[in-house]
Structure formats: C-alpha cells, structure tokens
C-alpha cells in the first residue's frame, strides 16, 4: 500500500521532496519579504473620501440648512419639552411591553393549552397590526366603548369613567407602542427561557423551590441575560417609533419641531434639530447597552478567572475566608 501525495513520509526512499530534486535546499531566513499589495483597498477608499467630501460640502455650504437656526432651536424650551415626552413614552412603553411580554412568554410555554392559545392569539394580533393603526384606534376607543365600567361581569357596576378622559392621546400612544412591543418581547423572552438548560430547572426543583421560585430565581435571570442584546435593539427602535405619536398631536420631539416650523416655516433646520436629538439619544442608548452587556459578561463568565483585572471591581473582599 502506498501513500501517494504524502510529502512528509518517505524521505529515506530518496528524494521524496520535489524541491530537493530541483536543486539545493534554499533557506528563507534573512531573505527580503514582500507583503501582499491591496490596490482595490486604496481605490475604494479614494471613492469614499470623495463622497464624504461632497456630503460635507452640502452640509456646510447649503444655505437652506441654516445652521444658525438649528443652533437657536437646539435647546429651545419647546424642543426640550418634546425630548422629555419622547423619553417618557419610550420608557413607559418599553417597561409595560416587557412586563406583558414576560407574562406572554410564560403563558406560551405553559402546559395549559388555553394559556398557550391566548398567548399565540395576542402575538398574532399585536404583531400583525401596525402600531400607528393601533394608536389611532385606541385614541378613538370612545366611539366603540363610550364608558369604561368596573364591576362584576354581567352583574352590577361598581365604578365607571368616560373613555375619552381615560384614554388621552398620551395613553393611546403608550398602549399602541407597548402592546406591539409586548408581542415582540414575548417571542424574544420565550427564546431566552428555552435557551436556559433544563438541568437548571431540575437543580432548582431539587433544592426544593416551587415552580414560581424556579422561574423567578433561576430561569428568568438567565433568560434575561441572553435576551439583553435584542431587547437593547428594541429599546432603540422604540425610541424612534415614538415619533409616530405626532399623528395624535402628542407634543413629542418630532411634533414639537413640527409645531415650530408650522409657525416660522423653517422646516429643514427644525427637522435637523429633531434628527440631532434622536441621534444623541440612540448613541447614549447604544453606549448603555454595551455597558450592560459587558458587565453581564464579566459577572457571568470572566469574573473569577485569574488574571482578569476587571474582576476586582466585582469581587469585594471575598474569597479570603
């Protein structure tokens, strides 16, 4: 049996190395080395630089941008008020959406088929209807249900409110955003829960935890760590989706800018103001997300590994016991 094409073998057979047949062995040591050239890297770079220069010229020289106006309105009280509203909407809708999402995810994984189907229906509906449609719908809820009543189902009423006073444009916006978010969050959290190994649940049960304790103390903390990156993404898109509320005349960042330019007709500069603030906020959120992710990685994986400097910050005075 021969091993053809196996160069390492058979030097004792005489001239198994092809190079050896052609001439004497040539050592590479000390020879001049020529690195591989990348001409297209330079060509592509040149095109990009040109495009950037053109864009910069547009930003700097186009008079319609009116940077002085942008600066004038960047810290305008109305704009800052809109900024706060945008943040409020983002945080409230996100918190509410995540809370509902956790419940939906747990229902989706329940052994009870009714829970599973209700969760599925919710997801199907709120993922299918655009948030903008929902907002307008919630805002006009009073047309469908003029009075909200609290009482025994099919029995006496204990309290009632006028729907129009309960569902303001602000709460309609929150509802539309939060319910949409709940459907997306539910799917992410479900995936996160399913990614936690089954052995974790068993280990917790064996310690004597109840089903609820297992979920709260062992499964959800691990599932949420898995889910942080996609949730962070969702938070950033939520921030941008809040601009939809301008349709309901809620004075968020975009609508505040719109109100100003409808008075002074400086449309482009005010849109720039809004753009700048949206970019500032998304940048901050991205940084926060990176920080959280890094922190979790440290506490979960790298901490306790010798030589990792960062571990010191998270290991206060322990381990010398």
């Amino acid at each position: 049996m021969t091993f053809a094409g196996s160069p390492a073998q058979g030097s004792e057979e005489g001239g198994a190395f092809r190079g050896a047949e052609r001439g004497a062995f040539r050592s590479a040591e000390g020879a001049r080395r020529v690195p591989l050239r990348h001409p297209w890297w330079w060509a592509g770079g040149a095109v990009l630089v040109l495009l950037i220069a053109l864009f910069a010229r547009l930003l700097l020289t186009n008079e319609n941008l009116r940077w002085s106006v942008v600066l004038e309105y960047l810290f305008d009280r109305e704009i800052l008020g809109g900024l706060v509203t945008t943040l409020e909407l983002t945080v409230l809708a996100m918190v509410l959406g995540l809370a509902i999402g956790v419940v939906l995810a747990v229902m989706r994984l329940s052994a009870n088929p009714l829970f599973r189907s209700v969760s599925w229906l919710w997801l199907w509906f709120f993922r299918g209807v655009p948030p903008l449609v929902q907002m307008v719908f919630w805002f006009n809820l009073a047309t469908l249900i003029p009075v909200i009543e609290l009482g025994v189902p099919f029995g006496p009423t204990l309290a009632s409110w006028d729907t129009n006073t309960v569902v303001s444009s602000f709460s309609a916006a929150i509802l539309g955003l939060a319910l949409t978010e709940s459907a997306y969050a539910a799917e992410m959290i479900r995936a996160g829960i399913q990614a936690v190994p089954k052995g974790q649940t068993e280990a917790a049960l064996v310690v004597g935890m109840s089903r609820f304790q297992v979920l709260r103390r062992v499964v959800l903390p691990q599932a949420l760590r898995i889910v942080v990156p996609p949730i962070g993404n969702d938070l950033i898109s939520m921030l941008k989706f809040t601009s939809l509320v301008s349709v309901l005349a809620t004075p968020d960042l975009l609508y505040s800018a719109q109100m100003i330019y409808s008075r002074n007709y400086r449309t482009i500069p005010l849109l720039l103001v809004a753009t700048i603030w949206y970019l500032v906020l998304t940048t901050l959120l991205t940084l926060a997300q990176q920080h959280v992710e890094r922190r979790m990685k440290v506490t979960r994986a790298t901490a306790g590994r010798a030589g990792d400097v960062r571990r010191l910050r998270f290991l206060p005075s322990f381990g010398k016991a």
């Binding site: 052995g199 280990a203 064996v206 310690v207 004597g208 691990q222 979960r300 010798a306 322990f318 016991a321």
Partner: protein, 255 residues
C-alpha cells in the same frame, strides 16, 4: 430491621413512549445506609433515581420517603396528588447531585449554596452565608466562595453542587453518576467528599460506575439491567460471589 425504611421503592415502573425503562423495581434504604446502584448504560439506574424525587413521574408503583408516599398525600382513604409547593417541601428532604453539576452560572459559588436556604427556607443571608462557608470548607473550596462556577474545574463544581445540596440539610442524598463527567484525575476529590459524607452517617443512594467506591462504601449494592433489579445484596456478595450470570459478565467487563 423492623423500623420503617427511610426510602422504600415499591414496584416502580416507567416507560418513555414504547420503551419500558423500569419494570417493577423495589428496594429499601434504611437511615444511615449507603446504597450503590450499578449496571450497564440504559439499564434504568438514572431514571430510578429521578423517580425517587419525582423529577420523573412513575407510571406505576410508589416511592415512600420516611413512610410517606412521594408526590401524594393521604386524605382519609384516598391518595391526593400533591401541589407543586407540597412536593417542593418533600423534595427538600432529598438532595440530588447530577452528572453535569447544574450549578447556577449566574450566581457565585457561595450564592449557589445559600440560594436554597434563603429562598426556600427563608433563612437570613448572614446565617446562610456562615453555614455555606462551613460546607464549602468541608468540601475544600472555601477559597472559591467568591468565584463564578464557570471558572471552576469539573471536580470543584461537583463539590460545590454537593455543598449546595447539603445546605438544605436533607435526610437522603441522591447521586446520579457524580463522577462520570469528570477528568479521571478529578474523580478522587469528589469520591473523598462522598466517603466523608457516608462516614458522617448520611443516607445515600449512589448511581455509579466507580466499582471500587461501591465495594468500599456501600452497605448494599443493587445490580440493574434492562430496567430490572437483577441482584441486590452486600458488596462482598455482589462483587465476590454474584449469583447471576448477567452480573458476572457485567463485572468481568468493568473490573
């Protein structure tokens, strides 16, 4: 012995789909005894252990812990299935150590040990931590208290898992192939901890492939094959003079 056995398994059967994993398995373990279960892979040893603490629900038969059926409650003449929290209370009496440790990766070593006492028994953190440190000292890992499980070797993780189980002060400890996932050189440390436990009088059921451990430590050895108990008795008899051909052929291959 006339007293009630700490653990009684009575005619337990279990099938996964059409595959019958356990067939009428019965055994008794008295307080302070160590029972080792040996047998080839797929003989139903692990499933038996998981039926004891009801991680698997037996299809037939009953498991009794301290005379009470596991997973059920007497009400008059009827057996009522336990709620999740009642079963949890019963499980606290039984610790379990898994082949793959299953430590909580998001908690430090010491918090893995205190988790049960604090969350389940409502012990205050300070006391729980003191007790945890005692247990970690016992398994030789006090210096790792602040580390996360991932930074520990398999043998160290398994010893933490043992400490985590002991923290609940169980009456019975179940070991499901505790050394099978370990590098050979780390097996000894874990077995030493288990030997200490046995010496301290802990009642233990150990599913294992470590025949030397079974011979030294067990009061009783059960050989299982095909979901049945083929042979049971003191280690001297099982290892020295097995009655069944199947036991002999198994032992001749592993010893």
């Amino acid at each position: 012995m006339s007293e009630i056995p700490l653990l009684r398994v009575e005619k337990v059967g279990k099938a996964f789909g059409r595959h019958q994993v356990l067939r009428e398995v019965s055994l008794d373990v008295h307080a302070g005894q160590v029972l080792c279960v040996i047998g080839p892979s797929g003989s139903g040893k692990s499933t038996l252990l998981r039926c004891v603490n009801r991680l698997e629900v037996p299809d037939s038969g009953y498991v009794y812990l301290e005379g009470q059926p596991v997973g059920f409650r007497w009400k008059g003449d009827g057996l009522h299935e336990m709620t999740s929290s009642q079963l949890a209370a019963q499980r606290r009496r039984m610790g379990m150590v898994f082949q793959n440790f299953h430590l909580f990766p998001h908690r430090r070593v010491v918090d893995n040990v205190t988790e049960g006492p604090v969350v389940v028994n409502g012990l205050d953190r300070g006391t729980a931590r003191e007790q945890a440190m005692e247990l970690l000292t016992k398994v030789g890992l006090a210096d790792k208290a602040g580390a996360f499980p991932e930074s520990l070797s398999g043998g160290q993780q398994q010893r933490v898992a043992i400490a985590r189980s002991l923290a609940m002060r169980p009456a019975l400890m179940l070991f499901d192939e505790p050394t099978s996932a370990l590098d050979p050189e780390l097996v000894g440390d874990v077995l030493d901890v288990m030997r200490d436990l046995a010496r301290d009088g802990m009642t233990m059921v150990v599913v294992t492939h470590e025949m030397a451990f079974a011979r030294d430590v067990a009061d009783q050895v059960v050989f299982m094959d095909g979901g049945r108990v083929v042979e049971a008795g003191p280690p001297e008899r099982i290892f020295g003079a097995p009655e069944h051909e199947r036991t002999r052929s198994f032992l001749s291959r592993v010893l």
